[in-house]
């Protein structure tokens, strides 16, 4: 039971960071990233490839993969510079995510294709004794999560954060006030990209093997639900949302016990249907989640 909780907590840590990234780009920046799954994969694969094929240590692999994802996000933002419509932006991000997924699937020489990459070593697994490793690992992940929240809170309360909120509330007004709309959006998206890369790397270290099926589009649905359930905009709320979604997810694994005779393909289909329906229900009935957003008193 304890090990189950530890494993769940580890997954919650990086899932929450992914949700925080989405929240940052969407809740605070007003840009929805439908390519989240593909970018997440990019982070995980980049980190894994750097470690496995180029023998770079875990620290730099993580940092480099974060920068890579951030760069791709910045590029996406620049391409859509001329258009401030959220519609087109969403379509482009979906396309990019799809493209990344295809690369992961097809470039066998780099990514192992459908089989993926295995044998990813956990950081410092040689140096730290095996019996306490998992606790150190957990502590590290929780620590990273807390740092992320801390830094995001600082950004949100800074002048940069105020610009972002102004733009999100009414971009025409914000532009009139002189805030540089497009440059700010590029920075928002890039910062989100750093977090996505981080989450991807943490994912790779946790599972120690990665393949394309781990990064299917349903990942976006989870992240969106976590953000909405926690109340868009609030960082702590997002973490709570992630926990709720994780419980929902794990709980649905037990469907197998309740409904006999379901093959595993069908079971995963049912789980996805539940997530999809859940997402729609949350949008209709609980669009504001449960936690309030920090607001500067006027």
């Amino acid at each position: 039971m304890l090990s189950f909780i530890i494993l769940m907590s580890l997954v919650i840590c990086f899932s929450a960071i992914l949700a925080l990234a989405l929240n940052f780009q969407w809740g605070l920046g007003g840009m929805i990233n439908f390519g989240l799954a593909g970018l997440y994969a990019l982070g995980a694969y980049a980190c894994a490839i750097l470690i496995l094929k180029l023998n770079i240590n875990f620290f730099w692999s993580t940092i480099l993969s974060m920068l890579l994802v951030s760069l791709v996000c910045a590029l996406i933002s620049i391409v859509t510079l001329r258009v401030s419509e959220e519609d087109y932006f969403a379509i482009v991000t979906l396309g990019v995510g799809e493209m990344l997924r295809l690369i992961a699937l097809n470039e066998d020489w780099l990514t192992g294709g459908a089989l993926g990459l295995t044998g990813i070593p956990r950081p410092l697994s040689d140096s730290i004794p095996a019996d306490i490793y998992i606790y150190v690992f957990l502590a590290t992940y929780v620590f990273i999560l807390l740092i992320c929240i801390f830094l995001l809170n600082i950004i949100a309360r800074s002048a940069f954060g105020r610009s972002m909120r102004a733009i999100r509330e009414d971009d025409v007004v914000a532009v009139t006030l002189g805030k540089n709309l497009l440059w700010t959006r590029a920075r928002i998206f890039a910062v989100g990209g750093l977090l996505i890369g981080l989450a991807g790397s943490m994912h790779a270290f946790y599972y120690q093997y990665i393949d394309p099926t781990q990064f299917s589009n349903i990942v976006v649905a989870y992240a969106i639900m976590a953000v909405i359930a926690g109340g868009k905009g609030s960082h702590f709320g997002v973490v709570i949302g992630s926990i709720l979604i994780m419980i929902l997810l794990e709980g649905s694994r037990f469907l197998k016990e309740i409904i006999p005779g379901l093959g595993s393909d069908q079971l995963s289909a049912v789980r996805i249907i539940i997530i999809g329906v859940g997402l729609i229900l949350v949008l209709i009935y609980k669009p504001n989640g449960f936690v309030k957003e920090y607001r500067l008193n006027a």
């Binding site: 439908f34 001329r82 379509i91 396309g95 799809e98 493209m99 069908q266 999809g276 949008l283």
Partner: protein, 285 residues
Amino acid sequence: MQIIFNGFVTGIVVTLPALAITLLFGVLKFPNFAVGSMLTLAAYIVFTFNVLFGLSLLFSTIITAIIFGFLLILIDQLTFAKLRGSSSITLMVCSLGLGFVLENIARLMYGNNAKSFAIELARPFLFMDIRMNREQIVTIIVSTIAMIFMYVLLKHMPIGRAMRAVSDNPSLSLVRGIDSPLIIKWTWFISGALLTIGGVLIGMDRAIEPPMGSSYLIVIFAAAILGGLGSPLGAFVGSLIIGIVSELSTLVIPPNYRIGIPLAVIALILIFRPQGIFGKPNIKK
């Protein structure tokens, strides 16, 4: 020449779904990401009538078009209708979730194995040095007839005018006596028919399996955006261009990455001419 022909066919297959996206965007004001899985589900329903009940493909398509039209109206009432007036992002996210649900309902009911329609095999033939097969000819003829019909509907029939009015200005439409909710239902019904035909045409071209429609999503959006979201003629022209360019690109790019072309097209359009070929520039109030 062969490549141009293939491109033409590839393009014309997505014309009807692109038109559906354009109609829905005009009336509901957001891009609908569930369209891919709607294509898939429609194809499966046709499959059910065609293969499981033994009806002819034509008859199956007609029955399904009607059923699917009503099904979409029902789905709209349960989902998007409850979010009418919400932000574009909310509606897009809803459509994303809906897409997952529809695709996996198909997966649940029909499994992951590829299926195909019951059509007689016919040998490809040669016409003016270009190799064609019967399915391609059928696709071209059906799509063209459907497009002509839609053109007449939108330009000359009262329902088409009402749809264009609601797309142009929803609140003015109310004040001019147009029953917006009814027009929305009609739009869904018509889109349902278009998507059914589109699903059948795609299903004739390749195997029917759960991810079938979604894999076309980016291509359909590219065609609609290239032509100008909101312009039916644009949907037609956009699809053909995308189809031909995609085919030509296989000369230089490995086939697996063909999706890169529509994506690149979207990117270029957004940089140089966001309203597409026939669209109107968006005026912010």
